[in-house]
């Protein structure tokens, strides 16, 4: 009941607000963008955030030091300029004079210092605190070993922010575009604590401010008149509607009720393309679908076995037939188009072989390893519940038959599957996926470092690989760094540490009325770059 009263006063507030706007903008009707989102945001606190649905909303509410343009290029945001020290460790950002909070306060360097200290404070319980471990002492602060004041971020003056890093980090600007780097309004957080995210308390510095958030219904934003470029923001109001059920969004899109959908039911992709033509957008995305092979299991210890298994997977078939073209065949782990990796991944020699030759080679490898029809290999594929995951696993079991591999399946729901991968050694082949958080190969390759126990589901251990990754971390010359990273990835291919299978695509529906939507590899589409024409 209490909540209802809150809602009512909130709606009254929204009405008053709408009235003010209507009065100010003469006879012009308010432009509203009803926007399909992946899911409910779990939180609108940029320090507790972890999901794509949250990123989409927070991108409209806040502005970081640097931001993504419509094409997802890094451009200045609150910072108008920056410089780095010669060793690449100290970054000095000059903040804009006209950067303001929605209550009129100026955005200061101190706001950023406070924000970084808050996200790394263990008491905040930030899911993505590790995104900022590149900052000096960040990991120790997050571990509770050091006080947040020891963090390598300081305000030189109101408009100058200095950030010191642990290592030279060429992708540091990429990291800063992530929502975890958005500032919070210090005074509101100090006053309201974790309730600063409530619509009546929230103060933002981006193009929009929060009007309401009702889970499973919608999140409503309205233009922030204090935003420094408010005059360039064409859409007055954004309603983010969560769609767990992708087909529901498609129906509402076809009924003209939402102007874009952030994801589509992959199994309907072909019929949607036929029906809706170029309103269906499929673009490369920073993500890889793979099968981890538990390197510590007796059956999978032998790289020849892993190699043979990998060779037999017909990626093109899985991408086209099972995922209806919503995925791309992948032979290496780092997706194409990622930043600081212009030369692309290493070459996989067997990738272009004729299927029959491939099969012969794979069978020969298995034979060398002692497996064949008379001594079949028994393997278990674990995957998380889902129609396409099931079809993929079934197809792969079939593709492995010529090797004399007998497959059994172990299906769990998402939570059970991933906790099993994390806490147990007792699995052989396991489905997993990795969606990049920032556009740099390190974000993908760090998974396979031997000390990355929480993520390295293959339990891959290769000292040479670890050494190359350390080398890359210390290298400041970008071209050399890229070459080292490519060598590292070549090791992954050579050892067949796991099976890279598919690259994810982002799939969206975009109405022709919505202008300014640019497909990009980050799938980042801030509302401020868009407009609506009738």
């Amino acid at each position: 009941m209490l909540r209802m009263a809150g809602m009512r006063s909130l709606m009254a507030g929204a009405l008053v607000m709408a009235g003010v706007f209507a009065g100010a903008s003469t006879a012009l009707a308010q432009v509203t963008y009803v926007r399909g989102n992946d899911a409910n945001p779990e939180t609108l606190d940029q320090h507790k955030t972890s999901t794509v649905a949250e990123a989409n909303i927070l991108r409209d509410l806040y502005e970081g030091l640097v931001i993504y343009s419509a094409k997802a290029e890094v451009i200045p945001g609150v910072a108008e300029s920056w410089e780095t020290s010669d060793d690449g460790l100290v970054w000095t950002f000059k903040l804009r004079d006209d950067a303001k909070w929605s209550n009129g306060d100026p955005v200061t360097a101190e706001d950023f210092v406070f924000s970084y200290q808050r996200i790394l404070n263990p008491a905040t319980g930030a899911k993505y605190a590790n995104m900022l471990y590149v900052i000096k002492n960040a990991e120790k602060v997050n571990n509770g070993e050091l006080d947040p004041s020891e963090l390598g971020v300081k305000a030189v003056d109101d408009k100058t922010l200095e950030i010191t890093l642990e290592n030279p980090t060429p992708y540091f600007l990429q990291l800063l575009t992530h929502q975890t780097s958005y500032p919070v309004h210090k005074a509101s957080v100090e006053k309201f604590g974790s309730d600063f995210v409530k619509p009546e308390n929230m103060v933002t510095n981006g193009p929009y401010k929060l009007v309401s958030f009702v889970p499973n219904d919608k999140v409503v934003l309205e233009k922030n008149p204090e935003f420094r470029e408010a005059d360039k923001v064409a859409i007055d109001r954004v309603e983010f509607v969560p769609f767990e059920e992708r087909a529901t969004c498609v129906r509402r899109f076809e009924a003209g009720e939402v102007l874009s959908c952030s994801d589509l039911p992959a199994e309907q992709l072909q019929s949607l393309k036929k029906r809706l033509g170029d309103q269906v957008h499929v673009a490369p995305y920073l993500g890889t679908y793979y099968y981890a092979l538990n390197n510590k299991k007796d059956d999978l210890k032998d790289p020849r076995v892993r190699q043979a298994l990998s060779m037999m997977v017909d990626r093109e078939f899985i991408a086209e037939e099972i995922w209806s073209g919503a995925m791309l065949a992948a032979y290496t782990f780092v997706p194409p188009g990622i930043g600081n990796y212009e030369g692309g991944g290493p070459k996989v020699e067997w990738a272009d072989l004729d299927p029959l030759d491939k099969e012969d080679q794979a069978i020969a490898l298995m034979k060398e390893a002692g497996y064949g029809p008379d001594n079949p290999l028994e393997l278990e594929i674990s995957y998380s519940a889902g129609e396409n995951h099931k079809n993929t696993a079934t197809a792969i079991a079939d593709m492995w038959k010529p090797l004399g591999v007998n497959v059994t399946f172990n299906v769990r729901d998402g939570s059970a599957h991933y906790s099993h991968l994390r806490d147990s050694d007792d699995y052989e082949v396991a489905r997993a996926g990795w969606i990049g958080d920032f556009s740099d190969p390190v974000n993908f390759l760090q998974l396979w470092e031997s000390d990355n126990t929480g993520f390295n589901y293959s339990k891959y251990e290769n000292p040479e690989y670890d050494k190359l990754m350390d080398q890359a971390a210390a290298e400041t010359d970008l071209a050399k760094r890229e070459e080292i990273l490519r060598q590292a990835e070549a090791l992954l291919v050579e050892d067949a540490a796991f099976i890279s299978m598919l690259y994810y695509s982002s799939m969206s529906l975009v109405s022709p009325k919505l202008k300014g939507w640019e497909d990009n590899i980050q799938n980042a589409h801030a509302t401020r770059w868009m407009s609506i024409s009738e």
């Binding site: 009941m1 209490l2 909540r3 209802m4 809602m7 709606m11 409910n40 779990e42 939180t43 609108l44 606190d45 972890s50 008491a123 905040t124 319980g125 930030a126 899911k127 993505y128 605190a129 590790n130 997050n142 571990n143 974790s194 995210v197 409530k198 958030f213 009702v214 889970p215 499973n216 219904d217 919608k218 509607v241 969560p242 769609f243 767990e244 059920e245 087909a247 529901t248 129906r251 509402r252 076809e254 009924a255 009720e257 998380s384 769990r412 729901d413 998402g414 939570s415 059970a416 599957h417 991933y418 906790s419 099993h420 991968l421 994390r422 997993a432 969606i435 126990t453 929480g454 993520f455």
Partner: protein, 307 residues
């Protein structure tokens, strides 16, 4: 009467306690936790989270902690929706579910009673067969077929009604979900009423009423109906509790912010407190509606008395 109600409500407390305890531990038996998602968390980060949510304590301690908070009327924070407490989530979702469920229930009662009565009065006529056919259809076609179909036809093709969304409970937004929810109930109620009405029309007291020369309409509505609704009343207890606490299918397909989805979302995400909250609400509804049914029985059937 009042004493009876009080006794029943007091008697429900141990039942609820048992349900809470069982659900609490059953929920924890399920493998995985609220922070195990496709995107794994850094070990240290996970540790911080577990500490913030007291998941690092032994299970019995968490249980006592939960009971202690519950005794003070606090259902705890949601593990997934971190900007809300469970009270806030249920507080905003329950009115939506009740509004939908109550409207559907009312519609089902009126329409079901009407159809059932007509069928009984015209037994073995084409109307009777028609009602039986519609009822069979209503029961056998599941709501996950009806809901998208209605949305597609009336929302997308004919553009008469919104294809989805809550729209702050506007009548246009409620229509399709209410029909989806009511359809199987109409079917059940029509069949129940038809059966008991046929029986009631043959009973002695109705024959007596007829013999007095009372108008046929009055005999049916006042005398036969009173006896004929008894089976519907006993069916309605659990049915009403289920309708008012939301339907995950209808809410997901039409995109409505009720509490039916929280139950499933909570269970899949291992949002322990949210699941507990919905379990408690559903349990309370079932207890209360069973009590209401018993009281209604006393009111309708002169042979039943609670003293």
């Amino acid at each position: 009467m009042l004493g009876y109600v009080l006794r029943r409500l007091l008697g429900a407390i141990p039942t609820l306690f048992l349900i809470i305890t069982l659900s609490f531990f059953l929920m924890r038996v399920a493998p995985g936790g609220p922070f195990d998602r496709e995107r794994a968390l850094e070990a240290k980060v996970l540790e911080n989270l577990n500490r913030v949510f007291h998941l690092d304590r032994p299970l019995w301690e968490q249980y006592l902690y939960y009971l202690g908070n519950l005794a003070q009327g606090d259902l705890g924070p949601s593990f997934i929706y971190r900007d809300f407490s469970v009270q806030q989530l249920l507080g905003s979702g329950l009115p939506v579910s009740i509004q939908l469920g109550a409207t559907a229930l009312l519609l089902a009662l009126l329409l079901g009673a009407l159809l059932g009565t007509i069928a009984a009065l015209r037994q073995n006529s084409w109307i009777d067969y028609g009602v039986t056919a519609v009822a069979t259809f209503g029961i056998t076609v599941p709501n996950f077929v009806v809901a998208p179909l209605l949305s597609l036809v009336f929302g997308v093709w004919l553009s008469l009604l919104p294809a989805g969304g809550w729209g702050n409970g506007g009548p246009a937004n409620m229509l399709l979900p209410v029909i989806t929810l009511a359809l199987p109930q109409v079917a059940v109620i029509a069949r129940l009423i038809r059966g008991s009405m046929i029986e009631a029309l043959r009973s002695d007291h109705v024959r007596t009423a007829r013999a007095y020369g009372l108008p046929a309409r009055m005999v049916v509505i006042v005398h036969a109906m009173r006896a004929a609704c008894l089976p519907v009343v006993s069916y309605l207890g659990p049915a009403a509790a289920a309708l008012l606490t939301g339907s995950v299918v209808v809410e997901t397909i039409f995109g409505l912010p009720g509490i039916g989805r929280y139950f499933v979302q909570g269970a899949l995400n291992r949002d322990y407190t949210l699941v507990m909250g919905t379990v408690i609400i559903i349990a309370v509804f079932v207890v209360v509606f069973n009590l209401i049914v018993d009281l209604l029985y006393a009111a309708l059937d002169p042979r039943v008395r609670y003293d």
